[in-house]
Amino acid sequence: MSDFNSAALKTTDTKQLLALTSEAIVDIFEVETAYVFEKLSGADQYLHLFHDGIEVVCDKMRPLLDDIEVVSSQTQGTGAIREGLNLKTELHYLNQFAKAIYFRYTDVDAGNTLLIIGMVSVKNEPLYRKLEPRQDSIYNVFGQQVQSLLGNIKKSEQIQQQINTISASELELKKLSLIATKTKNGVIITDNQGRIEWANDSFSESSGFSLDEVIGKKPKEFLHGPETDDNTREILSEALSKKKNVEVTLLNYHKSGSRYYNQLEITPVLDEQGNLLNFISLQKDITDEIRAKEEILRINSRFEQIAEKSQIGIWEREFMDNTIVWNDILMNQYGVKRNETKEDLVAVWRTCVHPDDLQHVLDSQQKLYSKEAESVELEYRIKRINDGQWRYLKTLTIAETDEQGELQRLIGSSVDITETRLSQEKLRASEEKYRRIIENMNLGLIETNLNGELIFMNELFFKNTSILHPQHLVLGQNPELALQQRVIDKDIVSFRKIDDEVFEIEILDSEEKALHLLVSTGNVLNQSSKTSGYINIILDISSEKQLNINFERALAERDSYLKEVDTLKQFYENVLNNSPAKIAVITPDLKVAFYNNLLAEQEPAWANSEGKSIKDLLSDRQDFLSKIEASLASLKLVQLEEKMTYDNGEDKYILRNILPHVNQKNELEYLVISGVNISELKEIQSSVTTKNEELKKINTELDNFVYSVSHDLRSPLLAIKGLINLIFQTSSLDKNVETYLKLAEDSVLRLDSTIQEILDYSRNARLDLELKEVDLAKLVEPIFADLKFSAPEGIELEIEIDGNPRIITDETRMSVLLKNIIGNAVKYRRNIPEAFVKVHVSHGDTSTFIRIEDNGQGITQKSLTKVFDMFYRGTSESIGTGLGLYLCKEIVDKFGGKLSVNSEWGQGSTFIIEHPHKTLAHE
C-alpha cells in the first residue's frame, strides 16, 4: 500500500491514478481482477473504466455496472456481492468470477462517483473468504484513500485549469483589448446599467465624442436623435433589459450633428452566477454600406423601371438547382400568366417558338453549352399563347461560368420587336416607294467632291432633257462664279440669280433648243459636319417658263377683254336706259341686279333697289311674283298683263315679259323683266276689235246682199234661159226665128256669166279663205263634165296628179279658179282633132303647182302682159266679160301664190298656178 501511496502521490492525472488503482487492487487485495469506474454526478455514463491498468470501453460492461448500480446504489463505501455475479456482459471471461467486492463513493463536492470492484474467481473464492472481514475495512480505507487522492488530483486539475483559464483569459483579454483598441469598429464597454466605462478610439472617431466626454454616460443620451428609429430603440432596450445579445442598426448622430448609420452588436457579460457585469457593444459605421445599398436599390429600381419601360423580358436559369425564373415582362411577351403555368417554363418556351426558327435557336444555344460562345444574340418568332399572335423577339443569352469555367447559369433578355419589325418593314416599303418616286421624278442630281470632280449624276434626267454637256451644270464651291465663267465660255446662254443657292439657267440642248433650268446648290456634309462635297439639284422649268409667258400674255388679253366687256356693258346699259320699256334684271336668288332709268322714274320703289329682294319690292303684287316664280321654275318666258291705276284715276295696261336667261349648262343666270305700257295698244286693240266686228257685220250684210242680188238677178235670167230652151224643145221653128232665139240665148248666157263673175269676184275680195282638205281630182271632175258637154266636137280633158291629190285650200275659190282657166282653155281651143287640155298637179317643198296646158289658140305677146287686167278682152271674139282672168289672179293672190302664163299665138297656152302649202288652223 505504501508503494501505492507514493506512486499515487506522484500522479497528476485522474486516469493515471485510476489505472494505478486498478493494478494495485489486484496486488493489495489479492483479487483476480479489478475494475475502477468513475462517473460524474448526474451523468449516466461511466467516464473511465480501468481494468488491470488499461482503460477499457464502458459499454461492454454495461450490464455488470447496471447490476452493481442496483445493488450498490444504496451504500456508500464498501459493499460486496457475496453470491455469484450475474454477469450478462459480453466479456464472457468474466463468467469465471464468482464474487466481487466493491467500493462506491460519491463525492458531492467533486461531483463524481468512484466505484472500485475487485473480483474473485470461483476457484479462489474460498481462500478469499477467509480474509474477508479484514478485507472490508482495508478495502474501505483503500477506497477512501483513492477517493481523496482522486479528489486531490481533481482539485489540482481544477486549479491548473483555472490557472490555464486565467492565462487563457488573460491572453484573450490581451487579444481583445488589442482588437478593441485597434479595431476600426467602435467598441464600448458599459457597466451593467449601461454607463460607459470604456470606449475605443474608433468609437470616438465615428461618433465624434472622446472617451472623456462620454464616460459615465449612456450611449443613447448622446448618440440618438430625432430621426433614430423608435421601434429599433425599443428592441434594443428590451434585449438589454433581458440581458440578451442584440444586433440592430440605428441612426446615430455625430457630435457635429451629422448622421450616420450604426450597426450595433451588444453582448452582455455575465459572471458564473449569471449576474450582469457589463455590456460590450460593437459598433460599425455602416453609413457607406447603407448608402451603397440605397444606391443599389435606387439603381435596381431604376433598372427595373427601365426594364419595364423598355419591356425587356428577363430570365435566369440556374443549373445548380435547375431553377428557371422569368420576369413579368417575359411572361407577358409569351402571353402566359404566372400562376396559371404549371408546366416547365422551358417546355412552354419551346412550344412557342416558330418551327422554322427553332432549330437555329437551339443550335445557337448549343454554342453556349459547348462554350464556343459566351453570349448569343438571336431574333426569332414566337406564337403568343394568350392570343395566338406571331411576335418577333430579339434575345440575348449570356452564359455565366464559375472559376473553373463550368456553366453556372444562363441569363437572358428578350425584347418584343414586332412593332419595330413591322415599322421597319413599313419603312422599307416606303423607302422603296420614295426611291421609285425619286427615280421616276424628273429631277437632275449632280454630286461633286471638293475639287469639283463628278461623283454622281443621275442619267435619267439628263437623258430626258437631252442636255448635251451636263458637266457644265457642275457648279462647285462658288456657283455664281462658275456660272459667270460658263457664260463667258458660251457653255450656257445666261443665268439669273434667284438667291444665294438657287439659279435659273438658260442652256441649249443637243438640238440647239433653249432649255430653262432651275439649279439649287448645296453642300454635302460628312459626319463631323464638314463640307465633303457639293450637290446640285436641277429642275427643267422650260415648260413652266413657257407657261409663264403664255400666262402673262393671257393676262394682257384678259385685260383688253375686260376693257371691251366694260365698254359693252356701258353700251347695253345705255341701250336699256333709253328703251321705252321699263327693264329690270333679277338674279336667280331674286335680287335686283339692274333697273333702267325709266323704271326708276315711273316706279320710284325701284330706285336704288340694287341688291334688294324683289319679294320686298313686289310684296303687294302677288300675281306678278307668282308669275316670276313660275318663270324661274320652268325657265320659260312668262307674260303677264297688269292693269294699274294712275294717281289721276286713269287706267293703264302694262304688258310684262319675264324672260329667264340660261347659260350653256342650262343654268339660270338672270331674269329680265320688262314692262311696256300697252294702254294705247289696248285701245287700238279694242277699237280694232270693234271695227272688226263692224266689218264682219258689214261683210255678212254685203254677203247677204250679194247673194240676194245675185239670186234676184239670176232668177229671171234663168227663167228666160229656160223659156228659150222650152221654145227650142217644144216647137219647130223658122230658121230666122231659130237664129234670133240662139242669139238671145247667147246674150242670156253672157249676162249670167257676168253675174257669176261679179259674184265670185265680190266673194273672193271680201271673204276670208275657208281652208279645208280638197281632193283636186274630184274638184276637177264636174268641171270637166260640164265643159265636155259644151265642146261637142270632143276635146281631150286630162288630169294628172303627182303624189297626193288632196291639198288644203279654199274649195270654192279653187273651184272658181280652175273652172275659169280650164273653161278658157276649152273656150279658146282650136278646131283640131287632137285638141286637149291637160291639168298637171305636182307638189314642191313650199307650194303645189297646178299646170293647165292647152293646144288652143294661144295669146299674142301684146296681150300676154295685159291678160290679167280687169275687163281686158283679148279679141273681139272673146266671149266673156274680161273679168275671168282678173278674178283668177285675185284668187291666187288671196292664196298668197302666183299665177303665170306661157303662150304662143296659134300654138297654145300654159297657165301655172303656184299654190303655197296651207295648214288647217288646228294644226
Binding site: S710, H711, P716, L718, G722, N725
Partner: protein, 135 residues
C-alpha cells in the same frame, strides 16, 4: 206613170219645168206650187187621204217666207212610209256651194240641180233614179 211635184216661187220657172217634163215624159202628172206652204198643204192632204206621195219633188231653195230648207224640216216630220218613196231634188239658181252642202245634210234630198232643168238634166235624173229603183 211618173208624178212630179214642183215647188218654186217663180211661176215662169215652174211653167218651163212642167212643160219640159210633159214634153219629155208625155203622160206624166206634174203639180206646181207657188210656195212651200201650199206644197206642205198638198202633202198633208195626201196623208189625210192616205194617198201615195209622188215620185219626184223638185224643190226650190230660195223662196220667201218658207224656204226650201224649212220645207224640208217640215217634210221630214211626215210619216216615213209615205216619204220613203219620194225623190227630192233641190233646185236653185244659187252658185253657192254652201247651199249644196246644206242640201245634202238632209238625207231625204236625193240630188241637187241647177235651174233651169233641161231635158238633158231630166233624162239624167230619170235614168239614175230608174237605175237605182232597179235595186
Amino acid at each position: 206613170m211618173n208624178k212630179f211635184v214642183l215647188i218654186d216661187d217663180d211661176t215662169t220657172m215652174n211653167l218651163v219645168h212642167s212643160t219640159t217634163i210633159k214634153h219629155h215624159h208625155p203622160g206624166s202628172e206634174v203639180l206646181e206650187f207657188k210656195s212651200s206652204q201650199r206644197g206642205l198643204d198638198y202633202f198633208k192632204q195626201l196623208i189625210a187621204n192616205d194617198e201615195d206621195f209622188p215620185e219626184f219633188l223638185f224643190l226650190d231653195i230660195n223662196m220667201p217666207e218658207i224656204n226650201g230648207f224649212d220645207f224640208l224640216q217640215a217634210f221630214n216630220k211626215f210619216p216615213a212610209e209615205k216619204t220613203k218613196g219620194i225623190k227630192i231634188f233641190m233646185i236653185t239658181s244659187s252658185l253657192d256651194l254652201r247651199d249644196r252642202e246644206k242640201a245634202f245634210n238632209f238625207d231625204t234630198v236625193y240630188g241637187f240641180v241647177c235651174k233651169p232643168i233641161t231635158i238633158r238634166t231630166l233624162k239624167e235624173i230619170l235614168v239614175t233614179t230608174e237605175r237605182r229603183m232597179d235595186f
